[in-house]
């Protein structure tokens, strides 16, 4: 009885810590971003609910949620910490995944997909047994000659996502013949590139340029536009060759990509603090980027990245002033 009580206590504390972390992340984002995230969550909930009513939709949703949970489990960095606390890791993991799946589980129950509900719970249970964390020991034996040495975000990000990006890149090249397919994949790849900007570099790296904030930002944008240009040009050029009559589609995608890339960079420096992890901030801009693909809603989102970039640019200048004020 006493052991059970201790377990419930530990479990409750772990869930409490997660909720506190979530609250802190939301507070750090600011109220208007929280409203945007809430809107996305509601829209996603509505989309999931709609999809679940249709026959194969429920399977796709279950698979998607399972995949996300698996990714979180494999890459979570607190496995050793949980082990050290002496808690029963299996139960902790399962309770956490089940707890945060509640909204989806409720939707599954509402649409009377009990088998999907049980399948997801079983998957979470099995997942909790897996104690695998990928090692980085052997990664990084190759270099990326097309990335300038100053572009550490891309060097790091491409190294981290090399397999996934290579697969998508090859797929985009293979599907050049088909309308929109390669452009769609290029858009998805830009969502991965967005994750390159979730980490804040140390202060001494910012300082290396010895430039005032405005020039620092312009130089940064130039450098990253150049890298994106080199990265995307084989796909865009190939698309233009195969679809000569609709070259403008590739051009529009390229221009929109550059605007979104600016947003990723500027939103990082708008809230930059040395050594900070900006996952929540990064998630928001990635969501906006991905939602531009959603029919109907996407059209209304087209001006959003541009407006947000302008706002983030102003905030970046102000924020970087603290770190680069010596270089006016």
């Amino acid at each position: 009885m006493k052991i059970k009580f201790i377990f419930v206590f530990v479990l409750f504390n772990f869930l409490k810590i997660r909720l506190i972390q979530l609250k802190r992340e939301l507070i750090s984002l600011g109220w208007w971003r929280v409203i945007l995230i809430c809107l996305f969550v509601i829209l996603s909930g509505w989309f999931i609910y709609k999809e679940m009513k249709i026959f194969p939709g429920c399977y796709y949703i279950t698979g998607f949620i399972g995949l996300i949970t698996a990714m979180i489990h494999i890459y979570r960095k607190d496995k050793i910490f949980i082990l050290i606390t002496g808690a029963e890791t299996l139960k902790i993991y399962f309770a956490e995944y089940a707890f945060f799946s509640i909204p989806v589980l409720v939707l599954m129950a509402l649409t009377i997909h009990w088998y999907c509900l049980f399948a997801l719970l079983c998957f979470d249970f099995v997942l909790s047994f897996i104690n695998y964390t990928p090692q980085q020991k052997n990664r990084g034996g190759y270099t990326f000659s097309f990335i300038p040495k100053d572009n550490f975000e891309w060097i790091s990000g491409i190294r981290k996502n090399s397999w996934f990006l290579s697969g998508l890149y090859l797929l985009a090249l293979a599907l050049l013949k088909y309308p929109y397919a390669s452009l769609f994949i290029l858009w998805i790849m830009l969502a991965i590139i967005a994750s390159f900007y979730k980490e804040c570099e140390p202060f001494d790296i910012i300082n290396l340029s010895e430039l005032p904030p405005k020039l620092f930002i312009l130089q940064k944008l130039k450098l990253h536009f150049k890298s994106y240009f080199v990265f995307s040009i084989p796909i865009l050029a190939g698309y233009c060759i195969f679809h000569i009559q609709t070259v403008w589609e590739a051009l529009i995608i390229f221009v929109l990509s550059l605007i979104n890339l600016s947003l990723f960079i500027l939103s990082k420096y708008a809230v930059y603090e040395p050594k900070q992890d900006l996952s929540a901030n990064n998630l928001l801009v990635t969501l906006i980027h991905l939602c531009m693909l959603v029919p109907v809603i996407g059209q209304f989102l087209f001006p959003v990245p541009l407006l947000m970039s302008i706002r983030a640019y102003r905030k970046s200048l102000h924020n970087l002033n603290l770190y680069l004020d010596a270089y006016y």
Partner: protein, 226 residues
């Protein structure tokens, strides 16, 4: 001369430094000693311009000190993830024609082609130090450069700092190990009660240990006997 006058710095309502005065002679190695939380890192952050002081001035030869003249080694070194040692060093411009990455690699034995997250704490410290030395700035702020470093590297860094002093660099260094400071410093400044309370010159180092630890040693002796 680097002159700090009436410096007051705080984190919110908690003041860490109050009316601190300090004169740093150029071309010398200055040690900064004090217990944990005494404000050594805050003083470095303020000199570097990372914290805006509430009051007071920091001047180099009667001109406001610019960050352009300073290289700063932080206590805890953070590196961008998934970056190799060589890629990290490539970010730092070669400000000195005599700098050779190969020589440093041989001295410190760090695996430049490995990812930095696989480095030990000491290796990371050595890599960060190599990076800031590449900048060739006239003032070096070194916050705990000997932390987590092996004996061999401690000796190399000591020799290196003495060589940099000969070249005219002004070095301010903190350490928890008094011996490392007495071995290389020309002056040791004691930071306590939010201010510099004592300054020891090289010929006064013999009595420093007794001055700092004397009272504590007496207390310990008494407690142990009880």
């Amino acid at each position: 001369m680097l002159t700090i006058k009436n410096l007051t710095a705080s984190y919110g309502k908690d003041s860490v430094l109050e009316n601190l005065n300090l004169d740093i002679e150029e071309g010398m190695i200055h040690g900064l000693a004090g217990i944990n939380g005494s404000g050594k890192t805050t003083l470095f952050h303020t000199i570097y311009g990372f914290i805006k002081p509430d009051a007071g001035t920091i001047q180099l030869n009667e001109q406001p000190l610019s960050r352009k003249k300073i290289a700063f080694l932080e206590t805890q070194n953070y590196f961008y993830s998934n970056i190799k040692g060589k890629e990290y060093l490539d970010l730092f411009p070669d400000s000195t024609s005599t700098f050779s990455v190969k020589m440093w690699q041989e001295l410190f034995k760090f695996p430049l082609n490995d990812l930095i997250e696989n480095y030990s704490t000491g290796m990371k410290k050595k890599l960060a130090l190599t990076g800031i030395l590449k900048l060739d700035k006239p003032i070096l702020l070194l916050d705990e450069p000997f932390n987590g470093i092996d004996m061999e590297a401690v000796r190399i860094i000591e020799k290196l700092l003495l060589r940099l002093k000969e070249k005219g660099k002004t070095i301010i260094v903190t350490s928890h190990i008094l011996e490392t400071l007495t071995a290389i410093c020309d002056q040791i400044h004691i930071l306590e009660n939010k201010n510099i309370t004592r300054i020891y010159r090289k010929n006064e180092f013999e009595g420093i240990e007794h001055d700092i630890f004397g009272e504590m040693d007496e207390k310990l002796k008494k407690w142990m006997n009880d």
